[in-house]
Symmetry: C2
Subunit: 345 residues, 2 copies
Amino acid sequence: MVTLKDISKATGVSVTQVSRALGGHDDVKEATRAKVREAAARLGYRTNAIAKGLKTGQTGFVAMVIPSDIDASGREIMFDMVVGISQAISRHGLKFLLHVVDSDAQVTGAFDLLFHGGGIDGFILTELQEPDPRVAYLQDRNMPFVVHGQYPGRPHPFVDLDNFRVGEVLAGWLLDAGHRRILFLNGQDHRIYSSTRTAGARHAFAVRGIDPSTLDVAHGPMTQDRGRAVALDRLRRPDRPTGIIAGNTMLARGVWDAAAACGLRIPEDLSVTAHDDVLAQYPASGFDPVPSVTRSALHAAWAALADTMSQTIAGGDPEPDSGLLAPEAVPGLSVAPPPAGSSRG
Amino acid sequence: MVTLKDISKATGVSVTQVSRALGGHDDVKEATRAKVREAAARLGYRTNAIAKGLKTGQTGFVAMVIPSDIDASGREIMFDMVVGISQAISRHGLKFLLHVVDSDAQVTGAFDLLFHGGGIDGFILTELQEPDPRVAYLQDRNMPFVVHGQYPGRPHPFVDLDNFRVGEVLAGWLLDAGHRRILFLNGQDHRIYSSTRTAGARHAFAVRGIDPSTLDVAHGPMTQDRGRAVALDRLRRPDRPTGIIAGNTMLARGVWDAAAACGLRIPEDLSVTAHDDVLAQYPASGFDPVPSVTRSALHAAWAALADTMSQTIAGGDPEPDSGLLAPEAVPGLSVAPPPAGSSRG
DNA sequence: CTGAAAGCGCTTACAG
DNA sequence: CTGAAAGCGCTTACAG
C-alpha cells in the first residue's frame, strides 16, 4: 500500500506538503505540486478515505440498509433503485454501499454499526412505513440521512413526489369525465405514499361535492399480476367500476390485461389513469391507447436525493419543503365518459 | 461518539486496559473487566472498526462489486444472491457490503477504491466470464478474494459446484434411457460454468461411444421465458429432441410450459433432466412429474464461500480443491425411454 | 511556500 | 495485572 510517506520519501517533500499538494490547496508551489502529482501517479497512490475520515470525520461513503424479507414488489424494483441511487450518488463524488440485514428489527443496529464502526457518513432511507422507527432513531443520534418520502412529525431532509397531487389529478380526470364508480389500485397498505395518494384522490372527490367514501381503494404490491387479479375481480361485478386509477405502469399493465380478458375496450368501456415513474421496463409509450398519466421520473428523485445527501453531509441544512417534486400531468387517450348503459353511482 | 477514552475517564482505567478488557484478552482482572463492560454498555460504546482497521489491517468488511448493466437473468437472482451471501458472511462475524458500478470496466477501479480507501478486507467474485480480468487484477495486487466459480490458470481461493459432474449426470440419465436427440438448455455463453457443464455432458456421450457433437447446446439467460421459447422452437421441428437438459428449475418451468403447449407428456413423449439450485421461488417439488435432478443448494455454496472468505482474510491459504461441491443425483419420474415412433438419432 | 507536531480511535509491544 | 508510548495514514493549526 502506497502512503503519503512513500511519496514524501520519493520526492523529498514533507508529508504535510504532499497532503496539501494532492488535496488541491493553493499554498503549494506549482513545481512542488507537479513533482508530487507525478510521483503519486507513478507509485499508484490512492488516498485512504478511512484514515482521512478518522481525521476529518468524512469518508464520502453513503449507505442504504435493507431487510432481506421485503415483499415481491420491493424486490422487483430493488435492483433498479439501488443502481439508480448508486449512480446519482457517484455523480456527487460520493460512494454508495448497500447493506442487507435479516429483518426490519435489525436495521437500526446496522446504522450504528456502519456509522460508528464503518466510516459511513450518512444513510438513505426509502419505503417509509407508519410507524417507522428509523427516522427518529437517526435524528436522536444525529446521524445524517435523507429520506425518499416524508415522515410526519419533526422535519427532516427528504425528497418526495407530491403524492397528494398525484392522487388528486388521477382521480380528477376520471371524475371530470363523469365517472363515479372508481377503483384505485394503490400501493402497499401502511406505506405513507399510498395513504397520501388516497387522501389526494378523496380530496378531488370532495371539492367536486362527491362523497369521497365511494372511492374503492385496494392496497397491495404494485405488480402486473396483482393489477390484473384485482381489476378482474372488480370488473366482473355487476356494479363494475367505469374508471380505474393505477398506482404505476406495472399495475396499469395488469388493468390492460384484465380489460382484454373481459372484452372491455379502453377508453370506450373503461377509463384508466395511472402514475408513470418512467422506468425502462414498463414505458407508458408501450400502451395502446396512450394512457393519461401523472409523470415523474424516479431517476429525477434519485438525483435530488443524492444532491440533498451531499448537502446534508456537508452540514448544510437543506431548506424545508425544497424536496417536494411536482408530477407532470400528461393527458392521454385512456379517459372517456363512462359507457351510456352504466348507472352513475 | 463514545470512545475508549470516554470509558477510561468514566472508570479510571487506562485506555490500554479498556481496550484489552473489551477485546477479551485474558490479562485483565475480572473486576476491571466488569467495570469496563458496565461503563461501555451504559455509555453505548461501539468499537470503531475503521480505527481498529487502521492499526490491525482488518475491518471485518467484505464487499462485492457488480456492474449495473448485468443481464435479465443476472438481475433476477441478484437479490437472492446478495441476501444469501450477506447472511452467510454475517454468520462469520463479518459484514457484507454491495457496491454498484456503471460497467464491467469500472469494477477493478472499485476494488482499489474500496480496499485501499474504504477499509474493505476482501472481495467476493461471482459470475466469472472468460476472459475475466478481475481474478488476475486482485491476485497481482494481493487483495484477498474468494470466487464463486473457478478461473483457469493460477490457483485461487474458490467455491464451486462440480459443474462437469452436473453435465455428466444429467446427460447420462437421458442417454441411458435410450435418448439420442438431446437439447441442452444451458446458461449464458462465455460463462465458465456453462462450458464446464457442456464438457461434462459431452463426456457422457463420449464414454458411451456416442458422437458428442450431436448434443444441441443452446446458450442464454436461464429464465422461464427463454426455456419456453427455445424448447418450443425445437419441439416443433420434425426431428424434435426426445430429451432436454435444463440448466436450472426456471428453465425447466419453461420446458414444462412448452411441452404442454405442444401436447407432449412428460416423460412419455419427452424426457427432461434439470439442475436444482434449491431456490425458494422455483422448488423442484412444484413440478409434475417430479423431475430427475442434480441438486446442490446455492445456500450451501454461499455458506462455503463465507467460510473460505473468513479463512482467506485471516491469512490462511485454503487448501486447493477443497472448494469443489459435489451435486446430489436425485432421480425422479421425468425420464423414460424415447417414444416408440421417434427415429433414434 | 514549507515542515515539525499533534491528534482522529484504536491496538500492541514494552516495561513495570 | 497495569499503563505510558508508539504508530496505523491522514489533515490541519502553528510557527517559521
